[in-house]
């Protein structure tokens, strides 16, 4: 479980996060949704320590991330997996080496054990025969799957996904969404998905935070989102003609 309490973040004069309070539950896909520029990526980056918050606290199972010493932060980060928007695979390493990278850095596993773990992770994301390929040789969907495989290679307790469906076709998006949900439930991970894709929201939204202009404007699940009276949320949810029909 991760709790964010009274998070404020400014970039110069620009207030990006304004008093965010939310609890992300373990074993559930927690979604942070909102329009582009609403502050959701900043929130995720604050949570993983890539940005410093101006005030407030982020609690990973009751221990405050900001109060941890540098060494303890590094230790905690080994329990975090992250799927970046563009995959962020190391382009000088093969798929196999990418997935094995955190294992090589932090464990004393033998090559054979490593290979087994890599193959297990690849099978888990439904990829085969790509071990020796380089990221540049993969399609967008495959890259995302390899990135998920790398993120789960160290058996993380927390999984952060920044717009996992960006640049993917609807079918592949659903496959990636379902994969994230399956992994979350299977390993009881606290998963936080940052998205503005309504299909994802309706597919995997078990616990949703809607951020509007840096504020937490609404929270709930995928059933309740369609019945909210909040204007900003309705403008976001029913922006497409397809969802407008759903409202009627």
């Amino acid at each position: 479980m991760i709790q964010v309490k009274n998070i404020f973040k400014n970039f110069g004069e620009n207030q990006v996060l304004n008093d965010i309070n939310f609890t992300f539950h373990a074993g559930k896909t927690n979604l942070v949704i909102g329009a582009s520029g609403s502050g959701k990526t900043t929130l995720i980056k604050c949570m993983v320590g890539l940005h410093q918050t101006d005030s407030g606290s982020i609690l990973f199972n009751e221990s405050s991330f900001n109060d941890l010493a540098k060494k303890e932060k590094r230790k905690l980060r080994k329990e975090i997996g992250m799927l970046f928007q563009g995959g962020a695979l190391f382009d000088y390493l093969t798929v196999e080496e990418n997935i094995a990278f955190p294992i090589t850095m932090f464990t004393n596993m033998h090559d054979e054990e490593k290979r087994e773990r890599v193959n297990f992770c690849l099978q888990r994301v439904n990829l085969t025969n790509v071990n020796k390929l380089f990221p540049s040789e993969l399609s967008g969907g495959m890259m995302k799957r390899v990135a998920i495989a790398r993120a789960i290679s160290m058996k993380p307790k927390y999984l952060f996904c920044d717009e996992p469906n960006s640049g993917l076709d609807p079918q592949t998006s659903i496959i990636i969404d379902n994969l994230i949900q399956e992994i979350t439930e299977e390993y009881n991970i606290t998963t936080i998905v940052n998205t503005h894709d309504m299909n994802s929201v309706m597919e995997i939204g078990q616990n949703i935070a809607f951020i509007d202009k840096g504020r937490l404007a609404w929270s709930g699940d995928k059933e309740s989102i369609l019945h909210s009276n909040l204007k900003e949320l309705n403008d976001f949810v029913f922006a497409s003609k397809l969802f407008k029909k759903l409202k009627i």
Binding site: R74, R77, D91, F101
Partner: protein, 246 residues
């Protein structure tokens, strides 16, 4: 004010770079990879430049020493001294600032804009140390070797120009090459090279590491790294020459 802030950021980065590695085995492997990438892959260009540099130095020295009262072997002597003291260390450092420096800045800059550096940080890896430390160590270890090769090939180029161009005879040139040899000059050249190697690798890494934006920003970082490296090389050259030779 901005330059003070930039210098502070550079020192802060160096502080992070020289912290304890997470996995020594992986770092050692990365140092070997960087030696191949930054050093061995530069051998061809260094050799070609050095060969022609030595030849041109010999021809130009030959033109200046046309007085019959000046012994001809001094052409070989002047070629050797020019190459060891200045041309090989400084000229090759400037060339490497262009080739290696821009490659380092664009590689790290691309890693920054494609979030690969963020990925390392989230894994709990000190990204500055992991990416930059092997590059600095590889440069410091291998650039002196490149400069030594450059000196040798430069003298060979001078020899070819002198003998094939009929400037002086083979024995005269060789006599000049061994005349009044001062081993300290080699030491001086290699000390300079170590400082140049550190400057090139750390400055280029700095501009790459703090790249902000997209592909255009990567190009800008690469250009900045070459310009700043060249200026710093010339300043270091002046200071070390003043300290060691004056």
């Amino acid at each position: 004010m901005d330059s003070v802030k930039t210098f502070g950021l550079y020192l802060n980065m160096l502080g992070n770079v020289f912290s304890r590695p997470e996995n020594k085995k992986v770092y050692l492997k990365r140092i070997v990879d960087e030696i191949i990438k930054l050093g061995i892959n530069s051998l061809t260009i260094v050799s070609i430049i050095s060969l022609f540099m030595g030849a041109v130095v010999t021809i130009q020295t030959g033109l200046q020493l046309s007085n019959p009262f000046i012994p001809k072997y001094l052409i070989g002597y002047a070629t050797r001294e020019s190459l060891i003291l200045e041309f090989s260390p400084t000229m090759i450092a400037l060339i490497l600032a262009g080739k290696v420096g821009s490659s380092i800045a664009s590689e790290i800059g691309t890693m920054r804009v494609s979030e690969q550096i963020d990925a390392l940080e989230i894994m709990g890896i000190n990204s500055a140390a992991f990416i930059i430390q092997p590059k600095i160590i590889a440069s410091i270890l291998f650039f002196p070797f490149l400069v030594t090769i450059s000196m040798g090939i430069g003298m060979f180029g001078g020899f070819l120009a002198a003998t094939l161009g009929g400037i002086i005879s083979k024995p005269e040139f060789l006599q000049g090459l061994i005349y009044w040899f001062e081993p300290f000059y080699i030491f001086y050249a290699l000390v300079k090279t170590v400082f140049f190697a550190f400057a090139i690798s750390s400055i280029s890494s700095f501009f790459g590491y703090y790249t902000k934006g997209g592909a255009l920003a990567v190009g800008k970082s690469s250009t900045k790294s070459v310009v700043y490296s060249c200026i710093i090389i010339l300043i270091i050259n002046f200071i070390l020459t003043q300290l060691m030779l004056a």
